[in-house]
């Protein structure tokens, strides 16, 4: 008997004791909670809050781009002095809007809101654990994120505005407070906020990895893990390796900004005055930043792909096509994500030979990505498809993943990139493949696991309306942007009215803006549905989607510890849908092989003979 065993037992015993003998106070239960389910909901609600702000920002700058002559006087109550006397949007504030839209969406919504919600919620429930490896660290992870959110939120209200150097905060612009207003106080708060964000992500990531590796229930081998867990696991590994690099990049930037070092600065004249900094290189920052920045794309996307795998398989009533290929392709994507960063820097003066190496590595990513797209489609093929809102959003994700991914092949080409870099073509590409696809993954996940989160169902009709308006809207917004990009429109420009060559595209820009406003408006259907169903929704059955994974064996509203009795043991993989011979079209993971002789394959019958079935009476009771 090892010492660690004893301690673990002690710890669980302590938790139970704590849980059962006195009701938790409101603060313990809902605010400083160490329960993974509550923390997941905290991440989700904070993420929704940020998504509204980030979306609203995009609407404001789309108004400017779509209707350059319009007076925005009516926004004065909200934006105050950022609307000038003529009723026009302040030009520097436009840059701040673009910057904050990117920062909020990439980090606060699609990293914290997506990974934070679903890794926290699903990892313990789907691997059969009572909670995360360290509930305290998990709580800390949320509150660091909250602190980071508060700081970023405060920066919106500074007199000089929030950070405005682009979400990539390239120096020297971001390193010189005197460069633009947005590089002053807003930039400082941006950096401070990101330090807490990085700490939050690392704490969360360490917990996810430890939990998946050490806390799986009996029988839950890696080859029986749901693909959601594989995706969260790989995402956490990528985050653990890449976020420290962002920390280094930001640290050196802080030194340059505040302490007079010259890591990124050299020979700069500003306002007719020469700065003393000599010997630095702004390209160095780009290398460090994109070493995080590119893996970050997959930190955003992989959880969405994992959620989609699970939902598509469940609602096609078919085993996922190529389970091992799915894992293999995720591992390949994760590995490749670390060696392609310079494709963001093709036109930064990079050695063209190095450029062709990075081009080659970049294009290889198309292979595992295509494997995934192929597997989704073949899983759908000839399935008994159930079109729940979650399923529609998952199929929508596959659509965006393909149509946005194809343009990646163009952009990954170092020669074509000379023309296309920093145009709206890039904007269209990443908004489809990473932005919209991940966002659809997030929505699909909410629709699918809402019954487990709140014990109630979301309204399906509103879900369908939400899906169709959003799905069509996203294409109406981002498809035209490809044309605008090929026509040469650069990103982040305040207005194009001074260029005759661009005047032919004015109507198209107006069209995009209208579509963007409608799409943004449709999200409020979801928000209404979400909060209304939380209190008034139809009560959810134990297993509403007839799914195989372990979370559906818990009570309707799982308490602290998830399962009232013993944790179920796992006897099979999670994708036994429509198994020939079986009575039902699904066999959950906790059903022993020995109970399903009618559907067992030959080798499974052999396994059933030696299987040690554990009494899991409580599990059955909870149905």
């Amino acid at each position: 008997m090892s010492v660690t065993d004893i301690q673990l037992q002690e710890n669980t015993a302590h938790d139970d004791h704590h849980d059962d003998h006195h009701e938790q106070s409101f603060i313990e239960k809902y605010i400083f909670s160490t329960d993974h389910k509550t923390i997941a909901k905290q991440f989700l609600i904070t993420g929704i809050f940020w998504a509204i702000i980030g979306g609203a920002f995009s609407v404001i700058f789309r108004l400017q781009l779509g209707f350059p002559d319009m007076t925005l006087e009516w926004l004065k109550p909200i934006l105050g002095k950022w609307i000038d006397e003529g009723g026009k949007l302040d030009q520097e504030f436009y840059l701040a809007l673009v910057t904050m839209h990117g920062t909020i969406m990439v980090f606060f919504v699609l990293t914290a809101g997506l990974s934070g919600t679903f890794s926290n919620f699903l990892i313990p429930l789907q691997i059969g654990a009572r909670d995360m490896a360290s509930g305290f660290m998990n709580m800390l992870s949320y509150w660091f994120f909250f602190l980071s959110s508060v700081i970023m939120f405060i920066s919106l209200f500074l007199e000089t505005g929030p950070a405005a150097g682009g979400w990539t905060i390239y120096p020297p612009l971001s390193a010189l407070p005197q460069a633009i207003q947005g590089s002053a106080g807003g930039m400082t708060l941006w950096l401070v906020s990101m330090v807490f964000f990085i700490a939050s992500t690392l704490l969360g990531g360490i917990n996810y990895i430890t939990t998946v590796i050490n806390m799986r229930t009996e029988g839950m081998s890696f080859s029986r893990l749901p693909l959601t867990i594989w995706a969260f696991f790989i995402t956490a590994v990528i985050g653990l390796l890449s976020f420290p690099v962002l920390f280094s990049a930001a640290l050196l930037l802080v030194f340059d900004r505040s302490l007079g070092t010259s890591f990124y600065l050299s020979e700069i004249f500003i306002g007719g005055e020469a700065l003393p900094n000599i010997g630095g290189s702004p390209i160095l920052y780009q290398h460090l930043f994109w070493f995080l920045g590119h893996p970050e794309v997959y930190i955003v996307l992989l959880p969405a792909l994992g959620i989609t795998s699970e939902i598509i398989s469940t609602n096609s009533r078919k085993p996922i096509f190529g389970y091992r290929a799915m894992i293999g392709s995720m591992l390949a994507i994760a590995f490749l994500s670390f060696i392609v960063w310079a494709h963001h820097m093709f036109v930064s003066g990079l050695n063209p030979f190095l450029g062709s190496i990075f081009m080659f590595l970049t294009l290889i990513i198309a292979v595992p990505s295509a494997v995934k797209a192929f597997n989704y489609i073949t899983t759908l093929w000839k399935g008994n498809i159930v079109f729940t809102p979650a399923m529609l959003f998952s199929i929508g994700l596959v659509s965006f993943f393909i149509s946005g991914g194809v343009t990646g092949i163009f952009l990954g080409n170092s020669a074509l990139d000379i023309n296309l870099h920093d145009t709206y073509f890039v904007v269209a590409h990443f908004h489809l493949v990473m932005g919209s696809a991940s966002f659809f993954g997030l929505l699909a996940g909410v629709y699918h696991w809402f019954p487990k989160m709140f014990g109630r169902m979301m309204d399906e009709k509103l879900g369908y309306i939400h899906f169709w308006v959003t799905f069509v809207g996203v294409y109406l917004v981002f498809f035209p942007l490809h044309y605008i990009g090929i026509a040469g429109f650069p990103r982040r420009y305040y207005a194009f009215t001074n260029f005759d060559a661009f005047s032919a595209f004015t109507d198209l820009n107006t069209f995009v803006s209208v579509a963007a406003i409608l799409t943004f408006g449709a999200q409020f259907i979801f928000i209404f549905n979400f909060f209304y169903s939380m209190f008034r929704g139809r009560k959810a059955p134990a297993n509403p989607w007839r799914s195989n994974t372990l979370e559906w064996t818990t009570p309707r509203n799982p308490g602290h510890g998830n399962w009232p009795g013993a944790i179920p043991k796992v006897y099979r993989w999670p994708y036994d849908y429509s198994k020939p011979g079986a009575e039902e079209d699904f066999i959950p993971q906790h059903i022993p092989l020995s109970q399903t002789p009618e559907s067992n394959l030959e080798e499974e019958n052999e396994l059933a003979k030696t299987e040690e079935v554990r009494e899991s009476k409580n599990v059955e009771d909870s149905h």
């Binding site: 010492v3 673990l8 917990n207 590796i213 050490n214 640290l251 030194f255 010997g279």
Partner: protein, 193 residues
Amino acid sequence: MMEAQMNAPIGKVRAMNPKIFGLWLFIISITMIFISLSSAYIVKQAEGNWRIFEFPDLFKVTSLIIVLSSVSMHWSYIAAKRNNLLQIRLGLVVTAILGAAFMIGQFVAWNELVSIDVNFSGGNPAESFVYVFTGLHVAHLIGGVIFLAVMLKASFSYKVHSKSLTKIEMCTTYWHFLGGLWLYLYLFLVLNN
């Protein structure tokens, strides 16, 4: 319900304690910070405009000190395995003193650097990098010394013994890591100069 949960197995306990495993992941993320800084150093150096200067000899002394502190830390860990309370405490105290000595040594070395006009700010990045490397390392070492203090307190309330090794094992692992990290950084700086 409580009894049912008490008896409920928490799943097969895997080979590694989750806390120790978590520490290793933490170490990996710290390693990534230093790997990225080292690569930044190499990239920047390759671009030219790079000042070359001598490192203080004091770094050799501090390297020796940190190696010795690793020895005393391990001595304390072995003492914990053998339930020798006096040696646990002695080991922890000696390690903490050596850790403090190392930090003072680094501080004096910074002063020596300043005296040969190698400054953190206002100079060539080559100069700043030395301070970033050593400074970040010392920052992590402060965390290590706090960990030592916590362990010392635990040893006085009889919580460190052969049946409760997790924490001191973590402390030892982290301390060895910090020692190794310094040796790597010193070697890296010397070899690239």
